[in-house]
């Protein structure tokens, strides 16, 4: 019988020296679900995604991705997911088609299938006409769409999106979410995303988990969170759970600790 949970996280901890970027978190994501992982800057979202996607080893705890352990079964885990990173990760000196071709080869997609799939996906994200243009000539929205197409090329079971609509105009954001929702319906792909746009999360997500200071403060459907916090919007519920204090991302976040730790205490 297929496990209902495609992502299982138990007592996950990631430390940098004495600082805990992720502090004993547990949650599950069901197959076919659209799951929003929300939190203020430096809360531990990106560190968690990095651990789920094999880029970072946990200090302790357990992760299961599509039945695989990301630490001991990296290849199987990596084949299970596609990802759109928070920052752009395309090669600007290659064309749109070449970026997808490169990805397809690395993921072992057979040549004929690769060709068909690239055409299908580039048409899906409205970039087929620009397939031979260098990515450096693309706008931010076009690059995001291309990254989405790239992440889907190898038919992943899970799609991670780390702030996929950051810095994009409302039209492009709307476009991108409609692609993702269509994909979720059409291919039954599980979507795990982070965003700072609460309206997007409320509109798209089946369930939401809110993380703050490395700990999960609440998980449930949007309706459940609104009832628990006695608020009328997800943004108000989010503020009620995480406070109104402005977070400074440059200081005290997992990223800054990671860099300092790597520089001075290299393992």
């Amino acid at each position: 019988m297929v496990n209902e949970n495609i992502i299982e996280v138990k007592n996950l901890i990631r430390k940098y020296g004495d600082y805990s970027a992720v502090n004993n978190i547990s949650f599950n994501v069901k197959r076919g679900e659209i799951f929003a992982f929300l939190g203020p800057n430096g809360a531990g979202k990106t560190t968690t995604i990095k651990m789920l996607t094999t880029l970072l080893h946990p200090t302790s705890g357990e992760i299961i991705i599509n039945g695989f352990d990301p630490v001991s079964e990296q290849h199987e885990t990596r084949k299970s997911f596609g990802i759109v990173f928070q920052d752009p990760s395309l090669d600007d000196e290659l064309t749109a088609y070449e970026n997808l071709e490169f990805h397809g080869v690395l993921y072992g997609v057979p040549k004929t299938l690769r060709k068909e799939r690239i055409e299908e996906l580039l048409k899906y994200v409205d970039l087929w006409e620009r397939r031979n243009s260098l990515v450096k000539t693309f706008s931010g929205g076009m690059k995001r769409r291309l990254e989405i197409a790239r992440g889907l090329l190898h038919h992943p079971k899970i799609f991670f999106l780390d702030e996929p609509t950051l810095g994009l105009d409302p039209q492009t954001r709307n476009h991108i979410w409609s692609y993702i929702k269509k994909l979720n319906k059409k291919e039954g792909i599980t979507v795990f995303f982070t965003t700072h746009y609460m309206d997007e999360a409320a509109r798209v997500a089946d369930r939401v988990s809110i993380i703050d200071h490395g700990r999960i403060v609440q998980t449930g459907t949007v309706a459940e969170l609104l009832i628990k916090t006695r608020k009328t919007t997800l943004e108000d519920a989010f503020l009620a759970l995480t406070g109104h204090e402005i977070r400074d991302e440059a200081v005290g976040t997992g990223e800054s600790y990671r860099i300092r730790h790597r520089t001075w205490v290299r393992h």
Binding site: P88, L90, D91, E93, V105, R150, T263
Partner: protein, 248 residues
């Protein structure tokens, strides 16, 4: 194999699309060939050492390969900063495959750059004893390129950003070049300099290349080949190890 091929191909595409990089990296070797080759040529000839251009051309070809190879290895830092490295690190392939693909790509680019400088030096008056030795010359060019691309990759694996690049250039790459015997004969130099030159792997590359073209070796063909192959293997091993430890 396909993964290694696509990583190699990517390096080549990036290189051939960047015309300014190709032309830009030719400036320094050309300046060295013209300014030193013709400027110091009469002094060198007066000292009874023969034609200086003939002497330094292999050294300048080595320099060109050294700089291009180190830079190709260090490109990982750009890939890290511009995000592309993450794309390769989450792919279901082994880290050593990424390292090999990138090193082969960087080395191919460096050899190509070395060949351009070699052809330019022919136009400037450099004479090759026998073209039958060109394959031997190519072997040395490939070894130098592999060695220093692996070194660049190893360095890039422990650097977080490009701030340390100047440090690497001034305290590693330039001494490697200037102390290798690329610009002066190693016979008769002070003992300390002899020792330094003998631990500089580029010395064996320059000597091998010069020997392949002119037929005159300082260390000897077999020693050059042995030291270069050994150092290249060790550095590829170190580079692969350090690259496998990268966490983003």
């Amino acid at each position: 194999m396909q993964s290694i091929y696509i990583l190699w191909l990517r390096q080549l595409k990036r290189y051939f699309r960047s015309k300014s990089r190709i032309v830009g990296t030719l400036g320094q070797p050309l300046l060295f060939l013209v300014a030193l080759g013709f400027g110091l040529g009469p002094v060198f000839a007066k000292a009874g050492q023969g034609n200086y251009l003939e002497f330094i051309a292999p050294g300048i070809v080595s320099m060109s390969i050294l700089f291009t190879a180190i830079f190709s290895g260090i490109e990982i830092i750009w890939d890290r900063q511009f995000g592309f490295l993450k794309e390769t690190l989450v792919a279901p392939i082994a880290r050593w495959q990424i390292m090999v693909g990138r090193t082969l790509g960087g080395a191919t680019v460096a050899v190509f750059q070395g060949l351009i400088v070699f052809i330019l030096s022919l136009f400037l008056g450099f004479k090759v004893e026998t073209f039958a030795l060109i394959p031997q010359m190519l072997i040395f060019m490939i070894l130098i390129a592999l060695l220093f691309t692996a070194l660049g990759t190893a360095i890039a694996s422990i650097l977080e950003d490009m701030q340390g690049f100047q440090l690497i250039m001034n305290f590693l790459v330039m001494p490697l070049f200037f102390l290798s015997g690329a610009l002066f004969p190693l016979q008769g130099v002070p003992g300390a300099l002899q020792v330094v030159a003998s631990v500089d792997p580029l010395s064996y590359g320059v000597d091998g290349l010069r020997g392949a073209i002119t037929g005159v070796f300082h260390f000897g063909l077999s020693i050059d080949l042995l030291i270069l192959s050994l150092t290249t293997t060790i550095l590829i091993g170190i580079g692969t190890f350090l690259f496998s430890k990268i966490q983003i």
